[in-house]
Symmetry: C2
Subunit: 360 residues, 2 copies
């Protein structure tokens, strides 16, 4: 049976070089080596260095490997908040981060928008006493992007408050000035095109200091995933637990491939592919944009309402070998979501558009 | 370059069928499917069913997939302890679980032994008011096993207290009566012969009830890894986050292979291989047993003191293609540790013994 192409917004298609790297991993016995061996440390360093080059991350930021972005929500609350956090909530995932804060007993505030829209990003709505401001660079459930300029405005108004950015379905496609935020995180099964099972957490010196201060003030910041412990291990290019070494290896290799291609090319192609998809949704009689404001439409996840439901569309396309995402939560059966990640070539996207036009 | 054989006590040699299953995973696009798809749910169920068959786990126990045994230490403390825990500490790993409890602000007590020995397991040493008793079935850092009969004695004396068993380098080789304990956990990169990046947590109905009671009493039990949430998802054969689907698939397949081979055969072979290693250590002029009491010697991890240091031994053997474990912590450079896991065949172990005898 020929393989299907996954245009799902995570897990998604593997980066097109992963299969080759898996063979290399097997030859190099990457799945058998000790996670504290020189060989494993080398992969950690390579992945960290490549990520920093690819996204122009400041030298004094640290890259840590955890198990998932979901875990990193929790670790940020444990490490970076003593009393109060503030959350931009614009879809299922950004709301879930807020819910985590509530469950961990933090005094969490939020500003919320209907799905498909962006909350009011006026920085004056943020109380002065919050310790952490959280937002998604791209809300995967709705296809709304959070403009980077709005983040920089928030920073200018609240220069002493930590800002956490969920980059999960946006990075490395979206250009983010890391020096203006303190905590950036993502899972690797979306834009990076890797198998699920690894979370990447990039942390500023200010964030590490905050965790140290919280601990010094007598609060618990956890055990093995406390930032000082992550730091102690990270400086040796080691994880704090027996992590998914295979995925760290694959991330090192795939980010190397992305560097070779060039981030500018990746971003240019993303613009082209997003334009193709936007044109499709605008002109197809059975589709229309969920995100009304075109300035807010994600470049990596296009979400369309369907006039006749999405189940049949998704099934027909799957039979032809194209797997698209369903609507999320309440929108399941009503919307389709199409990922346009670095692994998806311009040609694949053109083909997808043709197939959608001829199929539905 | 020919591949080396890893006799390290985790990460260790892959189960000998993993390479074939990886090819199958690639064909079936296991690394691209949605973690909440029917296909992924099928792998969850298959892995859970196989684990239950393989180790005779009671039907009403639940199998959950997390990121590592390290994470599960923390989740047990968050879910199963309100005030007080009790820990048998006999090496680096069992001590680290105790340390986690302290860091999370729990009133933790312990009974400790020098490395290479077993603490006094007289159940009368356990205070009546502890909520959780923790112990390793096998302390990977020292090669000391905790006799199952001692666990059953503790259960008989403290029938209402939850017992947590670290099975990480013992299961499925060691026969454990799961009905006498409440929480059993392991990472898959040791006895199960899989790549690192998955923790398995097997939980009794009593443990789930305890988490519900803690929550009802007004305490936080966490967010996505709270047992009621694990349960809600687990009943649908779903994880609580985008987990390492590839490893769940591989676990399903490898446990299937183990069932086909038969747990009795696996255990018989383990006895034979352990006898070989014990005979080697007893008779080799440059090696002697770290665990003096032969009844306590692990069947899966043999630890030997070296008369002339371990660095040269390990290097010589590695050059011949045999990778053994170094001593742990303070014993690094002084000891060797040899894993004898289900993937290691009798023939490989005989060959290893011959090579050690002819090399050092």
């Amino acid at each position: 049976m020929p393989k299907k192409i996954f245009f799902t917004p995570g897990p998604s298609a593997l980066y097109f070089t992963v299969e080759e790297h898996l063979k290399h991993a097997s030859r190099a016995q990457v799945m058998e080596i000790n996670h504290r061996s020189k060989q494993a440390e080398g992969y950690y360093q390579e992945a960290s260095d490549n990520l920093k080059s690819l996204m122009s991350i400041p030298d004094d930021y640290q890259v840590f490997f955890l198990s998932s972005a979901t875990e990193i929500w929790e670790r940020q609350l444990q490490n970076l908040v003593t009393k109060k956090s503030f959350h931009y909530c614009l879809g299922a995932f950004s709301n879930r981060f807020y819910d985590f804060a509530v469950k961990w007993g933090i005094k969490a505030e939020k500003v919320e928008s209907p799905f498909g829209e962006l909350p009011d990003t006026n920085p004056e709505l943020i109380p002065k006493d919050v310790e952490l401001i959280t937002l998604p660079l791209n809300e995967t459930s709705t296809g709304v992007s959070f403009p980077a300029e709005d983040i920089y405005n928030i920073r200018a108004s609240h220069p002493d408050t930590l800002i956490a950015v969920d980059g999960v379905s946006a990075l490395p496609v979206i250009d983010l000035d890391f020096s203006q935020v303190d905590s950036v995180y993502f899972s690797v099964q979306k834009c990076f095109g890797l198998p699920a099972g690894l979370g990447v957490w990039i942390v500023s010196p200010r964030a590490i200091k905050k965790a140290e201060e919280k601990l010094a003030a007598g609060y618990s910041i956890g055990a093995y995933q406390a930032l000082p412990n992550l730091m102690k291990n990270g400086l040796k290019n080691q994880t704090t637990f027996t992590a998914n070494v295979l995925n760290i290896f694959l991330l090192a290799k795939v980010t190397g491939d992305m560097l070779e291609k060039g981030i500018d090319v990746i971003r240019r192609e993303a613009n082209y592919k997003a334009a193709l998809l936007n044109h499709l949704v605008e002109n197809h009689p059975k589709l229309n944009h969920f995100v009304a404001d075109r300035k807010l439409r994600s470049k990596t996840v296009t979400v369309a309402n369907t006039t006749e439901g999405s189940a049949e569309i998704l099934e027909k396309l799957s039979k032809k070998g194209f797997v698209l995402g369903n609507g999320y939560g309440n929108h399941k059966g009503k919307q389709i979501r199409i990922a346009s990640f670095p692994t998806h070539s311009k040609e694949q996207m053109e083909l997808l558009v043709d197939v959608i036009n001829s199929t539905i």
